[in-house]
Subunit: 286 residues, 4 copies
């Protein structure tokens, strides 16, 4: 977390010889001072993925010309790629329902400067958490979501996100399923926290399911949202030990800490451009 | 792990007032020197469970009379209960297929005296691991198991277990499903290791399933075997972190260590009379 | 976390026969409906410790008479003991310096009702975090602490705590060492979070020490404060994996989440009367 | 764990521009099919470290000429470097005293083919474990080590290791301190397991120290041996939760599983050429 502004290149493509040489040569020729570089080859799928980060200061190309200069290499290897800069400040909307612990945690982190992002908006299907938003000086918008109103509410929410220039949506225990249309609009820019170690206990009431099954470990999973419920690419997971002494309220209590830490870790990795999605998986360059 | 011989009482019954007082009074009246006592009340189910262990030396009742003396209390509270002694040496049969890591681990622990038990017999559906049995001086019996021969093989195995006076069956990566008849004969005396954090990835090839799903954590689960595949009461679970760098062979490699440690922990807890099963769950008094 | 009011008895004494029988008989004779009971015998030290919790409703003794009724038993066995009630609302003062993450976390938990306690006061040796206190409507008092002013500041702080009727002090990354006089006034009612897995890296700058040593795991430790720096009875610890990729700022980032979760867990255990201290250790009846 | 033979290059040097480009260009020019590549820059120390692994089949240079061809690059950047091949089979001597669990585990892994290595020799300062060596068909040599004989015994051991062509020494709970001369002979080819999460509880009887301190977590640490007792570069660590219920024998029991798994993981990483030591730390490219 140096203060110097850096450029980050995330890329993936079919594995082929000369890839690393081409990218590293591009940086070398332009005097790039590499801060972080990591790569991964999925041998089975024949996919190559890379993250490279270098300082803008001293780089031969001004920031506005990097993309154009790199494009020929990207095209030669048919890369999927993204260039970003460490001083960008994306705008996050947090979606909540009635449970406040993840919301409090995200807002406190934002206030403490842990996230390189803004949180200008909280969206909910209930009024319950409005006062927290007020304490933190963030706009809070509640939309009644019933079977009848769902489509219209989503339309209004999408409009609101557009108006506010929202880049990333974080579902912080938001107890509504987003339509596949809504999800599609945001690509891999919607992060959800599910309160189980997926794929165990997908769907409703995972702590009740866990208690019923008598597991000795509970977990939490942060993932990108896709059209398949609780089925998107997993970003981060963590677990905690439990025992027969833990009734459902104890699992809920222990789980809250997992949820908020795992969700924040996923948001942090996303903001620091550490994640590449391919297929239904993530590569996390931490 | 004192060398003094102890008695262990494991009991469960409907929760009711006076239970603890009755059991503790019984021990106190007979000069019982309590070494370990633990209890649990499942408030939802209204079930009370207890483990109490005391030294035989100095106890007013000779070991042969304890059961009869305690029976009136057990009947008054309609307890399910079991009395055992720490110098018992139950006989274990280990069932294996082709993978040796859990077998090696169990045999080495037995040889080192970690288990208060004997392992006189290894049963397999393949010949592959016979030489390991030989190295450790344990009888190895292979039974071809195909759809046609399965019933007959199980009959022969059951006969063999009877002849050998086997008390406990440990499935150490045994890749055959036991019939519900066979399972029923042994009650909660069959322990299996499954190579995932159940209920995730039940059934075949869990490491492949885990890799496919892109989880960031893998696990292993030891459980009592019931008629429902991978569905019995969970005794112990553990997990390990993984990343995109782990291909299936890496998951297998990391998972092996989880499997052998978790299985051995379950066997150890079982042998030390630390487990009470109720419903489809365990209470582990560790 | 039922809403019914309960009584909690925490006791310790020399191990002797008849202890459990005496306590359970006392509860049984008075119609006590036991909600939770746990006990531990330290065989080496010959110490017996117990926690028992029962519902006040239906108990034969009114709450004001329980203490007197139990006293004869306590005296007979020479117990150290404490009786408390689940509807008590102790008052916590949080001590901070410049780092806000533990403070934010404690205040949010308090606001969400996770703690059965009040937090009316924040004490600091700096002004930095005053605005957070303001956001949460809590009094914030800063006292300059230098070598010259330390004694006088502590005197003023102690006076303030008395005025405010503070029961518990939580050091949430408070970077000053309290005098042994101050510590003695509060007995085991001061909880500190240290940002290492003690006893490794006691003292200053533990993340720098950890990085220097090249450990693969970092940790956090919550403990009762005693006159010996970072040497008091440990309540809770947790760890996180690290790697060579983690520079000091990364350790700080990962460590923050450990610190706040471990500190909150310790405060929660303390408030729920789950801890007995004996010697320089804790028994945590969770 | 493909069966194709690969070359592995491990290198470190002062960080400088053009490094990655030079190495990747070398491989690209010679048609190297890269299987694994990872790198790390220690920004504070200004050190660059890299691991790259590629298939020999299809590489333009025969295995015998790679070293000479790479040398100019290594010299240009003043690298410390090592080239190795995945079909090498280094020879390991395991040093033990009286505790067998790590020895059993290493021998079983070797027999199962988990290690790409041979274990032709066990060295001990006691006779106790000779029969295990016999079961596995490995030579066992005991040397009495007292203050008087230590120097002479070490001389004889060193001679024996030379005769046997030993490459790597694994201290599997070997309870003797090796002289700095002996350690110096083997560079970073001696791996030790210490039964605590170092730097906590270095030296003798760590489980007793841990019990005395009342920690809630115990650990094990595998490290390269240096002249400083328990102070060498850490390779791997793991921990397990404990509670007040765990007396010293319980810590020993839980710790055994940590020790053997952590030691084996370190040996495995070493054998797969995954570790670079720099300063008193390791970079583990897993």
């Amino acid at each position: 977390m140096s203060d110097a502004v850096t450029a980050v290149l995330l890329l993936s493509c079919a594995d082929q010889k000369g890839l690393v040489a081409a990218v590293s040569d591009f940086l070398y020729q332009n005097q790039g001072n590499i801060i972080h570089a990591d790569q991964h080859t999925d041998q089975e799928e024949g996919v190559f993925l890379q993250r490279v980060e270098w300082e803008l200061e001293g780089f031969a190309l001004p920031r506005g010309e990097i993309e154009a200069a790199f494009r020929p290499i990207a095209e030669r290897f048919e890369m999927t790629w993204r260039l970003s800069f460490s001083d960008a400040v994306p705008r996050i909307a947090v979606f909540v329902s009635k449970l406040p612990h993840c919301l409090y945690d995200l807002l406190a982190r934002w206030r403490m400067g842990e996230f390189q992002a803004d949180i200008p908006l909280i969206v909910s299907n209930h009024d319950d958490l409005a006062s927290i938003a007020e304490d933190f000086g963030v706009e809070y918008r509640a939309f009644a979501v019933t079977n009848e109103t769902k489509q219209e509410s989503e339309r209004q929410i999408a409009e609101l996100l557009d108006e506010q220039g929202i880049d990333i949506v974080v579902l912080a225990r938001y107890m509504q399923i987003l339509s596949s249309d809504f999800v599609a609009r945001y690509g891999h820019q919607i992060i959800n926290i599910h309160h189980s170690f997926l794929p165990a206990f997908a769907g409703a009431r995972p702590y009740h399911q866990a208690h019923e099954r008598g597991v000795k470990i509970i977990g939490a999973t942060a993932h990108y949202v896709t059209a398949q419920l609780d089925g998107g690419p997993i970003i981060a997971q963590d677990v905690a030990q439990t025992s027969h002494r833990d009734a459902v309220p104890d699992l809920v209590r222990k789980g809250r800490d997992l949820e908020k830490v795992v969700l924040a870790r996923a948001v942090d990795l996303h903001l620091r451009q550490r994640i590449v999605v391919y297929g239904n998986k993530t590569v996390v360059f931490d």
